[in-house]
Symmetry: C2
Subunit: 338 residues, 2 copies
DNA sequence: CCGCTCAAGTTTTACGTATAACGTCCTTCG
DNA sequence: CGAAGGACGTTATACGTAAAACTTGAGCGG
């Protein structure tokens, strides 16, 4: 309850130092070269220190007309991926004197109710990750500079987009599996309407279509271990020849596929190969370690922030997808003889 | 670049509606009963809608003297636990018209450099989770109402604390293992100076000490799967009789213990039992599923927020630890005959 | 010794909002 | 019929900061 005593203002500091409020602002704002003598400046700094002065951000923001704060909208915080995005964005932001406020959309990937109502703080811009562009623009009404992460460059209504080269990741996975000799692939797909998952499906379908002798089936599951377990079990017990490899939309789904395989008495990778996408901590916790596509979440967040800073400064944000990397571990091997 | 045109203010709305700025403030602030006629009010709302008016938060915050925004300081975002804490806190906050800004300390559990510099927004209060109280109070200088989560009630310098009943969780784990017949326990401890881990160590040591015939050894590891793998391997290959059960400080460490056991050719739970703490998604992804202590992260965050709201309103925050629950899965079983 | 420049400040203003204090008119009632 | 009060507003002000515009005095060259 130490907050009954009102906080000191720049005027209090001025009085303590025997100068005007303007002088305090000048000194503390580091704009005093040639305007205030070194001795006076030091006196001001001293007074500020003694009073424990902290500028009122609300007043500063009002005066300046900006807050140097941006909002990062993420679908959820249930994996360390978005934590990495945040970290990367916040780190670069801090170097430019910006803060990042996080809004994890309760609705998950796709919609986003009203991030701005929840952020009680005024914003200079928005980075939205894996969000449906229309949902977001409907909300923010084109008021704020916007950068979209992991979304359809076409559908983002003119906002800058920064993407991971997920298509290439899927390409690498497909090439890896086909190279090992796999022909019957099961796509364990996230049952969530989102561009990021559409890309995976489209790219995988394309690769399979252009490789003679290969076939593709799809199982859809909500993004959870249990959901993937159920969907995979159903798909693997369906009539017809069993797939020899499972391509999962992300690592969590892959973990579910592991459990399904185990319950069906299938050994990984001997009886069936499994791949993931993300390279979460999970990927090396399960046995065998998961062959997956490593996404550099922090770089991703950093590039998003970089783009937003460019927009804020009136520069053109530079595009270019962020490369991803296939990490081959123990969950993939040549298929056993049929 | 649609942000060249400056945003409409309440004055613009007033002009459009043909009323004074004060009337706009009254209507939009829902304080107009008996001050403005329904027709005029509707005209104002209409004008606001057409102009796409959004109040300037900085100005409002300055005027009101508070921001209805609090800061949540967490050690890191590398597991879904703190994501849950955030979610719980933010949900309750939203119901009270508060926003929550997240500051994941780059330093991890323990210190915290300068959350306030990074949060460019003015704050009404702070919730700090798993932080060293002294580090935090040194920074915020007792300026803001503070609630500490998961920290020493004694060492928190008068700030309210909200804790999970982790000691009871450890108690349950110990009782479970001892009940199964285990006598030689290995404590896989997080090598991080923090109250939350001290509690685990202390409680476990107490339980072992008061149970005749039992013995305890400790292995320390950084909180990562690989770190735990190394530390556990060392501990299990040390001379002397091998422990029959491993109590891990959290689930991630347990995952490392799994890998160590596997590499040493030990089967879980037949040759060795393993327990975790947290109940992350990881716990059910690994095989066998992990016996662990479920922490209700969202409730934890909610209770933290509840306490902070109490402090903000001058009420006494109510204490009481949050109960935790042992979840028995496949990673624990009676020890095999010696 | 006059006018100019420069250092070292101060005074003033604006940012956009919420609300206290103040006006009108119109109705109502003693 | 006069005063009181309600309905429906308006005007004025303060929040704390940053910075533009202004003041004062000293130093200095011509």
């Amino acid at each position: 309850m130490a907050h009954g005593s009102t906080r000191p203002t720049s005027r209090d500091v001025a009085q303590a130092a025997g100068v005007s409020q303007a002088a305090v602002s000048l000194v503390l704002g580091d704009k005093w070269r040639g305007r205030v003598s070194e001795t006076t400046a030091e006196r001001v700094r001293q007074a500020a220190r003694e009073l424990g002065y902290r500028p009122n951000l609300a007043a500063r923001n009002l005066r300046l007309g900006h807050t140097r704060t941006v909002l990062l909208v993420v679908p959820a915080l249930t994996t360390e991926f978005f934590a990495g995005v945040y970290t990367g964005a916040a780190r670069l932001a801090a170097r430019h004197g910006f803060g990042v406020v996080l809004y994890p959309s309760p609705e998950g990937i796709g919609p986003a109710r009203d991030p701005f109502a929840s952020a009680q703080t005024a914003l200079d811009g928005v980075i939205a990750s894996s969000m449906a562009a229309d949902a977001l623009t409907a909300i923010h009404g084109d008021q704020l500079p916007l950068v979209m992460l992991d979304s359809d460059p076409q559908g983002s209504l003119g906002a800058a987009t920064v993407n991971l080269d997920i298509a290439d990741g899927v390409r690498q996975v497909a090439a890896h599996l086909i190279g090992l000799g796999h022909r019957r692939i099961l796509h364990l797909a996230a049952d969530v309407p989102s561009w990021t998952f559409d890309v995976r499906a489209r790219e995988l379908a394309t690769r399979i279509a252009e490789t003679p002798g290969t076939s593709l089936r799809t199982a859809r599951a909500p993004i959870s271990i249990d959901g993937a377990l159920t969907a995979t079990t159903t798909a693997l017990t369906a009539p017809g020849p069993r797939p020899t490899a499972i391509v999962s939309d992300d690592d969590k789904l892959a973990a579910g596929a592991y459990k399904a395989a185990r319950r069906l008495g299938l050994r990984i990778p001997d009886d069936i190969s499994v791949t993931g996408l993300d390279d979460l901590a999970l990927a090396t916790a399960i046995d065998p370690e998961l062959t997956t596509v490593r996404l550099d979440a922090e770089l991703f967040g950093e590039r998003g922030m970089q783009a937003l800073l460019a927009v804020l400064e009136g520069r053109e944000p530079q595009g270019g997808d962020i490369p991803v990397e296939l990490v081959v571990r123990g969950s993939t091997a040549p298929p056993s003889a049929p």
